[in-house]
């Protein structure tokens, strides 16, 4: 436990040093530092917009959706249907990986299969609908179709393998420990 405390202290020192560096950059007009501050502000605002509604929806999901429902549609017996369901759910996920992780954790707690969880996470990175439309408008629809049709099978296969491997090793997801 001693090392954990030490890491905690290092983190605090890191944060303080970072804040001092940003302050110093503004004082002396150091461009890269100023750019970092602008990035920090931009991404913080972005998080502030996305995270509260996302977590509230997760809260509603936790109290209203029954374990049996998730087990039936995304559980270990759901097979390929579960993976396709995971991809469809991912299509509506906003933000990206950082929203997918807490959602995935709630799904897992309600009895979703590990393989389906990994499919969901990967798909929420690459199959989000608004993002794909945006991509197609800049890089062409052909690019998006090729990218999706190549990556989705790869994602499903690798997720099934990873899920099986981890289930065999009796792995469990344990958040915030």
């Amino acid at each position: 436990m001693k090392s954990k405390k030490l890491i905690g202290y290092i983190k605090i020192i890191g944060f303080v040093a970072y804040a001092l560096f940003l302050g110093f950059s503004f004082w002396k007009g150091f461009e890269p530092g100023k750019k970092m501050a602008f990035n920090l502000r931009y991404f913080s605002l972005e998080m502030a917009k996305i995270l509260p509604p996302a977590f509230l929806l997760i809260g509603l999901f936790e109290v209203w959706v029954k374990k049996e429902t998730i087990e039936k549609h995304f559980g270990s017996k759901s097979g390929l249907r579960g993976h396709i369901g995971g991809i469809l759910l991912a299509g509506t996920t906003v933000g990206g990986l950082y929203v997918a992780f807490p959602v995935a954790y709630s799904l897992y707690r309600k009895g979703a299969d590990l393989g389906v969880i990994f499919t969901y996470i990967a798909a929420s990175a690459i199959c989000r609908v608004p993002m794909t439309i945006f991509e197609a408008s800049f890089l062409g629809i052909k690019f998006s179709i090729i990218r999706l049709s190549v990556s989705i099978p790869l994602v499903i296969v690798s997720s099934i393998l990873l899920g099986r491997y981890l289930t065999r090793r009796k792995y469990t997801i344990r958040a915030g420990e």
Binding site: G33, K35, A37, I50, A125, M131, F134, V150
Partner: protein
Amino acid sequence: MYFLYLLLFIAMLVSFITDRNKTYKAIKIAFKKFMKILPAFASMLVLVSIILGLVPDTLILHYLGKSNMSQGVLMASFFGSITLMPGFIAYPLCGILLKKGVTYTVISAFTTTLMMVGFVTFPIEKRYFGIRVAIIRNVLSLLIAIIVAILTGIFFGEIF
């Protein structure tokens, strides 16, 4: 984004009408979960800002615009893995790369790693899945991204 708020509004309304206490409980759960993961999000924000400060768009443009295909794929995977960009910055950037003559293969490696491999989201992923699984998932994603890039290249007739 509007969709998210609309969905939340409708869900909250229905939930509140159906069962007030359950709705309060949901809000409580949401708050608790949020507070628990907040430090990891703070770490992510700091990492993002530092990396985007050190690796500006112009640098990515410079490196991806000048290298050959295999070098380009490696470079693109590297930049894609360490950075995190919102779509409205990433895709216009890719559009510029395309006009500069960068191949679809390289762009595919960049966008796929950008989305799937998360160096900056690692603090969050680690909190939920543990270090080992987070590493396995990211390495797998990197491999998938490279395969996707190669196949994109084949389909666009850039490789072979």
